[in-house]
């Protein structure tokens, strides 16, 4: 099939308030989930973690109609994608998760701590998870990253180093001391604690 070169890409539109049936049924509707918030597979290696938090708007109100998607490497820093030539077929771990927020704006992902991925110059990046945020009111989804507060040397990460020091904390999930493997990461779309979003 040959196609003429298109005259440009298709513009983005909001996911709207009613995406739940199509994208995040999660047992609430009779439609099988394509993806869930649990990325764990029986054979996956690495530290099992949970990342949880809430999504807030500019008034500090929770957002109950938000959808979050994460994309991450496995514990050895490899992506489940044929484009990543380093990937080894040793796990069914996919590295992609999707979650809708609940009535209190809350979300959670069960996954593993990702490994080290090279940056654009081939230098190691600190472990991170890519996060996309979709919601009514957002005409184009937002892209950000989740780093981890128990990783030493986050400030040396080439992407985190682009962020003004006083805003870096918005990208760093905090480990709950009392609960092993559980990290807290809130998303603020606006306001004093506005999460850093990247132009990618």
């Amino acid at each position: 099939m040959s196609n003429p070169r298109p005259d440009g890409i298709t513009p983005s539109q909001t996911v709207g308030p009613y995406f739940k049936y199509g994208l995040t049924p999660n047992g609430e509707y009779e439609w099988n989930d394509a993806f869930t918030n649990n990325l764990l597979t029986p054979d996956v290696s690495g530290e099992r973690i949970r990342v949880e938090g809430k999504v807030y708007d500019g008034d500090g109100a929770v957002i109950p109609d938000c959808m979050l998607e994460i994309w991450q490497a496995d514990s050895q820093g490899r992506f489940s994608d044929p484009q990543d030539k380093r990937a080894l077929p040793n796990s069914s771990f996919k590295g992609f998760g999707r979650c809708g927020t609940d009535k209190s704006g809350g979300y959670a992902f069960d996954t593993i701590k990702p490994g080290v991925v090279p940056d654009a110059d081939g230098k190691p990046q600190k472990p991170h998870i890519a996060l996309a945020v979709f919601a009514r009111g957002m005409l184009l989804h937002l892209y950000t990253r989740i780093y981890f507060d128990d990783e030493a040397g986050n400030a040396a990460d080439s992407v985190l180093a682009l962020v003004p020091a006083d805003r870096r904390a918005t990208l760093i999930a905090k480990r709950k001391a009392a609960a092993g493997g559980v990290y807290t990461f809130d998303v603020h779309l606006q306001g004093d604690n506005e999460t850093v979003f990247f132009d990618v």
Partner: protein, 233 residues
């Protein structure tokens, strides 16, 4: 070799804050986004879907015991990148209102009837050439309270992945000739007329099925794949 996703392609997308779209006021970031060079985290992406796509998930008219009410239509096209290459084996998800303009969603209180035989959700995977096809019901317009007498033009929501996490796209397909276009802040959040036109499907008489359904063509063009390959370490 890997693929390059030019940031300039993003200029067709709506501004984060489009003043007429009231829901954006408290949800658009106020601080500037930070540009970054793409790493493997951005250049890779989920391209699977075959595990979850069932054979008839792309036919929204046979999911229930009875046939849904409304105008049966065929919606098909290609998922392409901006160089015109088909994007193969990518998951295409859609959701929409029924023929009366009502979503099967607890929050949708528009007093139009629900159709017990129509759920409004479908999915498929593009083939090796990027081709996809759905059979569904033409959705109705519905009021949405953004401003006095606000009605959304009929539309179908689409979600596609493409080759990488930065080619991820959620958009809406509109129908040609809709009289509501000039009044819709979401459609008009795309300020370039040519770019807006790319969200409108075309009536496809050649692929209309006689005595059965009209057909609309909607090609979804994703960002990416500059012609120049880039060597990576």
């Amino acid at each position: 070799m890997t693929l390059i996703y030019p940031v300039a392609s993003n200029s067709v997308h709506p501004a984060r804050l489009s003043p007429a779209y009231r829901s954006a006021f408290k949800r658009a970031p106020q601080k500037p986004l930070i540009p970054m060079r793409h790493t493997l985290s951005e250049l890779t992406g989920p391209v699977y879907g075959h595990e979850t796509v069932r054979e008839h998930d792309n036919d929204l008219t046979i999911q229930a015991k009875g046939e849904p009410l409304g105008e049966r239509i065929i919606v098909h096209g290609h998922v392409l990148d901006e160089d015109g290459r088909g994007v193969p084996n990518t998951l295409v998800e859609l959701w929409q209102a029924n023929a009366c303009g009502r979503y099967i969603h607890v929050v949708d209180q528009h007093p139009a009837p629900l159709d017990p035989n129509f759920t409004g959700a479908g999915r498929t995977q593009s083939d090796a050439e990027g081709y996809y096809k759905f059979i569904t019901i033409k959705p109705g317009a519905y009021p949405w309270g953004n401003h006095h007498n606000a009605w959304r033009p009929a539309h179908i929501h689409f979600s596609v992945f493409g080759h990488s996490f930065v080619s991820r796209l959620v958009t809406q397909m509109y129908f040609p000739g809709d009289p509501l276009f000039p009044f819709d802040p979401i459609f008009n959040s795309v300020t370039d007329a040519k770019a807006r036109a790319r969200m409108i499907s075309s009536f496809d008489l050649d692929n209309t099925k006689p005595e059965w359904a009209l057909c609309y063509r909607f090609d979804i063009v994703l960002r990416g794949r500059n012609a120049t390959p880039m060597e990576t370490k």
